[in-house]
Amino acid sequence: MTPENARLARLRGGLAAVEVGARGIESVARNTACTRLRAIVIAGLTPSAVIEAVFNEDGDAMSPFAMTLTQAFERRLLSNGGSSLLTAYREKGLLASTEVKITSVEDMAPGEGAMARARRVSETQRLLELKHAGDPRAPNLILSPRLPLEIVGVFHPVELAYLIASDTEPTYRVGVIKSFADRGGKTDKTDIRAACREAAVGTLALRQHISRRGGDPEMALDKVDLVLRAPGSFNPRLFAQMRAESELASLIRALSTAPADLDEVERLLPAGGTLADPAMIERLPNNYRSACKEHCALWERCRAHALMTGQPIVLGDLAAEQLAAAGSISRALDLWNGRGRPPENEAEATLKEALREAGEVLDRIANG
């Protein structure tokens, strides 16, 4: 075991490491101010694993309907040698009729054993090497590739949907498959951004691979491909070469602080304190946001803590923003009712006036 791995193992305190995956790593960038989430992910755990192993509660389970839909859509695209995916690229004119070189990494080493996983990594790296060496046998589509992403000296494997490149492109782009329906302008932007950030995790892993081999990491562009489902059917809708500049930047920012985060976590915990202890998890500062429930299984605990300490965020993002000057719900109520200390600064005075006006509006609406 490498020293870095030993350090993380000590922090986990006997809990077995789990595969965080692209989605888990992406979640760190969604809430960069949450030390608790960053500590858990960097240590090689997930909030769901912590809920199950540390708090002995049920983890975050995906709805069976959503899971079935996701699996069926992915299977539809990736089965039969990715023929549906290939067709989508051919129809968009992104691959020529002779660019039909496809490799499924999962076919090479199926299963969840350590050997199979290690082989999937080495096979993916071998295929990348072919491409970067200009070998004409390099695939145009690599299905289910597995790449290591290095965070604080430890490899976190990331399993992606696919990598794509035409024969003329110097390296691959990462593609993600999402089973939510493409509703044009009405598709939830948060979902699209999350999908792009998930693909950006793959791009980052690809850049690290190129860099380790002495190449220019910028060769892997900040563009990703996204496949959504056409409404009411299982037909794919391809959105190729989407710019993921900001998603990649937010991810790089979030992960670049990982070594410092690890030092901070070790400082925050008392000697011998580990993430296997519920009290130590509670001790790590969190940053509850209303969107946490979308990606973090610990959201209920963090919300309970926010409620207990009267944080305005429990009233929603808008209220949190507007009541920021007060800092807590009880202080905001004091300002509204004219109790407690008088406004301590201009921001509090402005908030007090806004709350008074809002109270009058509410009174008029409620009492006529």
Binding site: N5, V100, R137, P157
Partner: protein, 286 residues
Amino acid sequence: MECYLGDMSRTVPIAAQLARNVQRQQEAFAAMAKALAAGDAASRERAQAKIAELTADYQRLTEALRFNELEARDIATPRGRKPGKPLRELALDALDDLGVPAAPALIADLTAALTGDRPSPSRFASLRRDEENAARRNIAARPAWVVPAINAQQLTAIPRLLTSSSWELERRIVGARSIRTDNLRIAISLSGRLAQLREAGAHEAKLVERLLFPFARSVPGAVQHGQPIDAARTIEAARVELAPIEAADLEERREAAAKLAGAGPQVRLWGRPVLIDTAAAERAVR
């Protein structure tokens, strides 16, 4: 399948191929004797290489002949499809129908379409391991084994794609373009089967059509939206699609087959052992 078999399989009987091989070996040994007498080192090297190549080919052909004889003795008639057949028999039947390496799910679906009995695809992993273990004990125990396809670049097994050991080596190899060419061949093969079943008015035609649909849909011009699959049209479209990539695919497979030809029977059937980068695995989170 005809276009595939036309290119990929020899039409010359194995016994005749063996006779030709023996003749060539005699010529190679004669050349060796001549080179030794003349003290010509270059000619001797060439003759040695030729002898090694022909010996490997001889070994392959004698095994193929033995398998054929065993098959002829044990299974005099084509394998009938009936419920209760062992999984390996069902797999070999389906593979013979498809004619190309196939994933367990496809084998199970084809078996279900033609027999109404769908084996669980998850059983194929243990079948593959059982077959390998049994063959290690006695490779001649069965006329054909369910074996994995072999990767053309590394010559290692692709466990998720199954083939029959009775196929020629180049047919069991998967190159860079093979997934696509094999899919097109499956489309051609299933279209042919669909046409036969429709002609006979068999109810299985619907099931085969459903199985064919994802393959046909990926071939430009093979299917018309909202229309039943036209088998002849699909075959034609798949052949057009196959034409520009078939030669390159075949060349890559043949090159890989040549590299494997000199290996032992276990390696020829189950591929080279896989090497894992333990240094990288050491750095993985655990």
